[in-house]
């Protein structure tokens, strides 16, 4: 019999950069951000699945989502609840705006200290930045060991987890004491579908800021049922040094942004001549399409 664990999944709502097809580009060849839907970061869904499986292994465990973002990010917390998560925390404050990975990790680690967790599971990386930094940076801030690129939790022991990691050229199995931070690869099992019963149960779940615009029925439902309350936290709700939040807490600064200009839709016809192929390769390299 495994002991009950408090599991927290770090997740992010991201623009769907994988869907940047031709429709999502403007005539000038820049990104039309409005055309990109906001989605649950794909590897965070793998992380959620691993968390839900761990919950099933350890009777009495709970899974909560922790996300930082604007109010609409509450959508991914509801999505997670429809799939089996018990609830969530939305960390939302203008003071977090402009955070780089380090300032984000600082805010998340402060929130995690107040929430408390035995196992923290995150996706390896988010598709809007692909940095893979936040998981390890949170682990360092909390002084916890980490297991990156996790694919499966092989065994749950009294005070440790046995985890299989997928690396570029193979697999590695490690034993890691808990509390710990795991980051999960897309090679881990896919997320389970939403469950109709859970959708019915949690469809009114909301953060306090959403209550103002909610219907009378929804407000009444949430008022009567604690499990429909998604926790909303501001900088004031976590013990932190505000200098380390947002722009002031971010050592990296964006100096310049250039849009990658995509080619017009009409096909350019080329021959198999050396000149044509050479100039094509030079163009692909200089436009950062390759390399």
């Amino acid at each position: 019999m495994n002991k009950a664990l408090k599991i927290v999944v770090l997740a992010k709502q991201v623009p769907d950069t994988r869907n940047v097809g031709k429709d999502a580009m403007t005539a000038e060849g820049t990104v039309n951000r409005a055309a990109l839907p906001a989605i649950f970061n794909p590897e965070d869904l793998n992380a959620l699945e691993l968390a839900l499986r761990l919950k099933e292994e350890c009777c009495g465990s709970t899974v909560h989502i922790l996300t930082m973002g604007p109010q609409r990010a509450a959508d991914i917390i509801r999505d997670a609840m429809f799939r089996g998560a018990d609830g969530g925390y939305l960390l939302s404050d203008r003071k977090f705006a402009g955070s780089d990975t380090l300032a984000t990790s600082y805010a998340l680690s402060c929130a995690l200290r107040s929430i408390g967790a035995d196992v923290i599971i995150a996706g390896r990386q988010a598709i809007d930045g692909d940095t893979a930094q936040v998981g390890p940076q949170v682990a360092e801030k909390l002084g916890l060991p980490q297991v990156t690129y996790a694919e499966e939790i092989v065994e749950v022991k009294e005070s440790s987890l046995v985890v299989r990691r997928r690396l570029d050229r193979g697999v590695e199995t490690v034993e890691c004491p808990i509390p710990a931070v795991l980051t999960v690869n897309s090679s881990a099992p896919e997320i389970r579908p939403q469950n109709a019963r859970l959708v019915m149960k949690y469809k009114w779940a909301m953060i306090p800021s959403e209550m103002a615009a909610a219907s009378e029925l929804a407000t009444k439902m949430v008022g009567e049922r604690d499990y429909l309350r998604i926790v909303e936290m501001t900088a004031a709700d976590i013990v932190c040094d505000e200098q380390q939040l947002g722009l002031s807490g971010s050592p990296t600064k964006v100096k310049k942004i250039e849009n990658v200009v995509f080619q017009a839709k009409e096909a350019k016809c080329l021959t198999a001549s050396d000149e044509d192929i050479a100039s094509l390769m030079v163009e692909l390299i200089s436009s950062h399409t390759l390399g």
Binding site: P15, T17, G21, K22, T101, L102, S105, I127, D128, D130, T131, V134, P136, Q137, E140, K141, P145, Q146, V147, T148, R166, L167, D168, R169, G170, V171, E172, T173, V174, E175, P177, S186, S187, P251, T252, K253, V254, K255, K256, I257, E258, N259, F262, A264, A267, K268, C269, L270, T271, A272, D274, I277, A278, M281, V282, L284, H288, T289, L290, G291
Partner: protein, 339 residues
């Protein structure tokens, strides 16, 4: 003090290519700044690597040699790197964007509270003026990287915190031996002072290096072959091009049915749907069955001997020619022009 550090990754007793590429770039940055280039090696039985590292420009080779460093574990590497950085105060530290570098470099940045930019494609030295405060900086590291799924290119700087840290993927930078080897003076890292017993808490139970799974869904560049590749042997050209471009190999249903490659690589209605940044369709006619699975690619290049093949309708570039003639030329000119 103020030197440029490069973390050296060891693969099967040899220095990994990405580390030699970083030394070449690091040498250039150190020369621009007028400082030394120092290599940092952590591993077991790693003596004798200093000659190679010196050839690629390392003035100093810092070594921590003990069985706790191999195979790689996050915490001993992090503690040792942080200890060395605190003692030596480098201004720049570069890591390969490998599973190892991407695992422990963020921890180092978190522990030292300094910025880290992932997967840089260019590194340069230049001035910077803070738009808000008007404060001016000289000789910052420009960390240039694609972001937002590759749709924008961002230049990142790290004005106030040190060291400035970046990771770079393998194959992005060029490696080149120096005309005259640097000194490569070996120094021992005082790692025993930096590591605590809790750094050894994670234990490796088993390691099996094997061929990794095929991952065409997640690939940013795909080279796909069709029936026009002619044979299983002819299809090999797709693998050759993919290897050079760092791409995955896909195939049309006709190629899979003909036995040119395994079913897992099939793209289209009965295979997987992909949306890579670049899709190179080799000897693929472009039946709707196939194009349904790839027409959302950001850029499509088709190679086909028939200029009227349907694939050219959705292609951004349509090369009319034989695959066995065009693909080797693409490989040749990519190699000639990439950094």
């Amino acid at each position: 003090m103020n030197n440029v550090f490069v973390y050296i990754e060891i693969e099967d007793g040899q220095v990994a290519d990405v580390s030699l590429e970083l030394l070449t770039k690091g040498r250039e940055l150190a020369s621009t700044l007028g400082v030394k280039l120092e290599a940092v090696v952590m591993g077991h039985n790693v003596t004798g690597l200093e000659q190679t590292l010196a050839k690629y420009g390392a003035d100093t080779v810092w070594v921590a040699d003990d069985e706790i460093f191999a195979p790689f574990r996050t915490l001993p590497h992090t503690a040792t790197m942080c200890g060395l950085i605190r003692a030596e105060q480098p201004q720049i530290v570069l890591f390969g964007a490998t599973p190892v570098g991407r695992d422990f470099a963020p921890r180092v940045s978190s522990a030292l509270h300094s910025g880290l930019t992932a997967d840089c494609t260019q590194l340069e030295i230049g001035p910077h003026k803070d738009a808000k405060t008007g404060k001016e900086y000289e000789n910052l590291l420009y960390q240039i990287r694609p972001a937002f799924g590759g749709n924008i290119i961002a230049t990142i700087v790290n004005p106030d915190c040190r060291p400035q840290m970046a990771t770079v993927r393998e194959g992005v930078m060029r490696k080149e031996e120096c005309a005259v080897a640097a000194a490569g003076e070996v120094k021992t890292i005082a790692w025993k002072e930096y590591i605590t017993p809790s750094d050894l808490a994670v234990t490796i139970i088993d390691r099996q290096m094997e061929k990794s799974k095929i991952n065409i869904k997640g690939a940013t560049v795909i080279v796909a072959g069709g029936y026009g590749m002619g044979s299983k042997e002819g299809f090999q050209l797709c693998y050759d091009l993919a290897e050079v471009l760092g791409a995955e190999v896909g195939a049309s249903r006709a190629a899979v049915d003909a036995g040119f490659c395994e079913h897992e690589r099939q793209i289209g209605q009965t295979g997987v749907t992909v949306r890579p940044k670049l899709y190179v369709a080799c000897g693929i006619s472009g039946q709707i069955q196939h194009t349904a699975g790839m027409d959302q690619s950001s850029m499509i290049i088709s190679i086909n001997s028939d200029p009227a093949a349907p694939i050219t309708k959705i292609a951004d570039y349509a090369i009319t020619g034989k695959v066995e003639e065009v693909i080797p030329k693409m490989i040749k000119y990519y190699k000639q022009n990439s950094k």
